[in-house]
């Protein structure tokens, strides 16, 4: 797997992205973002800054004005299928993403939709469950899992598609300290290029060398995490607390 990540393929390119919701609210105002292969980037900002909106543009669920290119593919209808196979989006609420009667079926959805063979689907499911540290869970019922377990299975459902880029929306929200620690460890181990939206600045300092600050639909800071975290005025101005 290591070789594949050396190709200049998996990048996120966002140029002058603007988006207004149907009710008129301007959520993004000319956002520029470039993520290189292998980078691990944190996206922070107050609620309503547009973080989730931006994330939804990365696999074409929302389409705004400006340019979005993922893994070299421009965001157009005919590319959506391949883009969604390359970018794994993990949403904030695992209940939105786990809708099958068994963990195995949920994790298998992505590979099955892609039309892979039974055997390959089975292999991917097992690999994904092992990656998130729950190798024996295939037969369990998602409804009965704990919050932390659900979050990890949600990640597994995306890993099974073997995406080049992982994008996560508030992965540690709502987790108890043990669940949070488990998830942080998981994120540290995954090799994919990563963009994570979060309020958890301590996790940001632990895992991400680069941080992008979004506020009111615009990028107000983009640089090495240490530098940004040390800038008390910047943090205060944008409702962030380290």
């Amino acid at each position: 797997m290591g070789e594949a990540f050396l190709t200049m393929h998996h990048t996120i390119e966002v140029r002058r992205l603007s988006f207004a919701y149907p009710d008129g609210f301007q959520a993004l105002r000319g956002v520029d973002l470039h993520v290189s292969p292998g980078e691990k980037v944190a996206l922070v900002g107050p609620n309503g800054a547009g973080k989730s909106t931006l994330i939804l543009h990365l696999n074409g669920i929302l389409r705004g004005q400006g340019e979005v290119q993922v893994c070299g593919l421009p965001m157009e209808d005919e590319n959506l299928g391949r883009i969604r196979a390359s970018v794994g989006l993990v949403f904030q609420d695992p209940d939105d993403q786990l809708f099958s009667p068994s963990v195995r079926e949920d994790v298998a959805f992505g590979p099955m939709y892609m039309g892979l063979t039974e055997d390959e689907v089975g292999r991917r499911v097992q690999r994904a469950l092992t990656s998130v540290g729950m190798p024996e869970s295939a037969a369990r019922v998602p409804h009965h899992l704990s919050g932390g377990e659900k979050k990890r299975i949600a990640v597994a459902t995306v890993l099974a598609m073997e995406p080049e880029i992982l994008v996560l929306d508030e992965p540690t929200a709502g987790l108890d300290p043990r669940g949070r620690r488990g998830l942080i460890r998981l994120l540290a181990e995954l090799p994919q290029t990563m963009l994570v939206s979060t309020h958890d600045l301590r996790m940001v300092q632990e895992l991400f060398s680069r941080t992008v600050v979004l506020d009111q639909g615009q990028v107000v800071a983009d640089g090495p995490t240490d530098g940004l975290m040390a800038d008390a005025a910047l943090l205060a101005a944008h409702g962030l607390e380290a």
């Binding site: 009667p101 998602p142 409804h143």
Partner: protein, 319 residues
């Protein structure tokens, strides 16, 4: 996505006011009964539960799946609600959905809402529940039996509800009976497959996640009254469907109408008994179509029971 994908919501103007009023009378009577039964069943949980589940039905109707060439299938949900909550609660839930759809999205008329409630609330919910209960009793306790019964309930509820709508439209002179029944019946025989599969899959998920919800009899009291209501409705609708066909000949009915000076008021009468047809072969196609639908219903029901029984027997012999 605001409008319901189900083409059974009859708009205003498609039913005569007299027929519409009859629909309201039936709907009101059943709603009053349903309120009483549900109150007994759920007590003070009733209002929040019915309300939120009505919101669920509305939201769930947006969950689609691709069928072919750009078309997609959806769920109506009356049978699912009936399987889990019982027919009376399901009637209330669907009524709430229909009132909001009619008032806010003009999906279904206001004056004709009585019949929409009867079709999609009462007929769909009761036929679905009855199918499910009967099929389960005959097919056994295995998981496959429950899923098969759910599929049958979904399919049958949709088809029968659509027939009811077709009969009401024909009785109002909006559509020739033959065509209405054939068109509604065949379209919904297809839509019903999707409903059946979705209902079965949803029940399947509930079975593993919260099996106590599906304990037979846990949430469905008033079974005898329910059966009475359903039988009464079925009889009423069949009478309505066959009465034009039961007359000795269309000419005979017209003659009667003329002698009573109906035709003079004819076009304007709100209660035209038999719309004129130029197609000569009226009676038989309608009869055969209805018979075909009844046959289809029996086939689906019988199939579900057989499949379920086989699975139960296999499970019993293994265990």
């Amino acid at each position: 996505m605001l409008a319901s994908p189900l083409r059974m919501h009859i708009p205003d103007g498609f039913l005569t006011p007299a027929i519409a009023v009859i629909g309201w009378a039936i709907a009101v009577a059943i709603i009053v009964l349903a309120l009483r039964q549900t109150r007994r069943q759920l007590d003070d949980r009733m209002v929040p539960m019915m309300g939120v589940l009505a919101a669920f039905i509305f939201a769930a109707q947006a969950i689609n799946f691709p069928v072919a060439a750009g078309t997609s299938g959806h769920l109506i949900g009356a049978s699912l609600a009936a399987i889990v909550m019982g027919p009376w609660a399901a009637t209330l839930i669907m009524t709430a959905v229909l009132v909001v759809q009619g008032l806010l999205f003009q999906d279904g008329g206001l004056v004709v809402m009585g019949w929409n409630v009867v079709n999609m609330g009462v007929v769909a919910a009761f036929s679905g529940c009855l199918t499910y209960t009967l099929a389960r009793r005959l097919a056994g306790e295995s998981r496959v039996a429950i899923l098969a019964a759910s599929f049958a309930a979904g399919w049958i509820s949709v088809v029968i509800a659509s027939l009811a709508a077709a009969i009401e439209l024909a009785a109002s002179g909006t559509s020739p009976l033959t065509l209405a029944v054939a068109a509604m019946g065949s379209v919904h025989a297809l839509i019903g497959i999707g409903e059946g599969i979705i209902t079965a899959a949803a029940v399947g998920l509930l079975l593993v996640s919260r099996p106590e919800l599906l304990k037979a009899g846990a949430t469905a009291p008033g079974g005898r009254t329910a059966t009475l209501v359903l039988v009464g409705l079925a009889v009423g609708l069949l009478v309505a469907a066959f009465s034009p066909l039961a007359s000795p000949s269309p000419d005979g009915l017209e003659a009667v109408a003329e002698s009573q000076n109906f035709l003079g008021l004819g076009q304007a009468a709100p209660y035209r008994i038999l719309p004129d047809y130029t197609v000569p072969f009226i009676a038989h196609p309608a009869l055969t179509t209805i018979a075909a639908v009844m046959l289809g219903t029996l086939v689906v029901f019988g199939g579900a029971v057989l499949v379920g029984r086989a699975a139960t027997r296999r499970q019993a012999s293994r265990g």
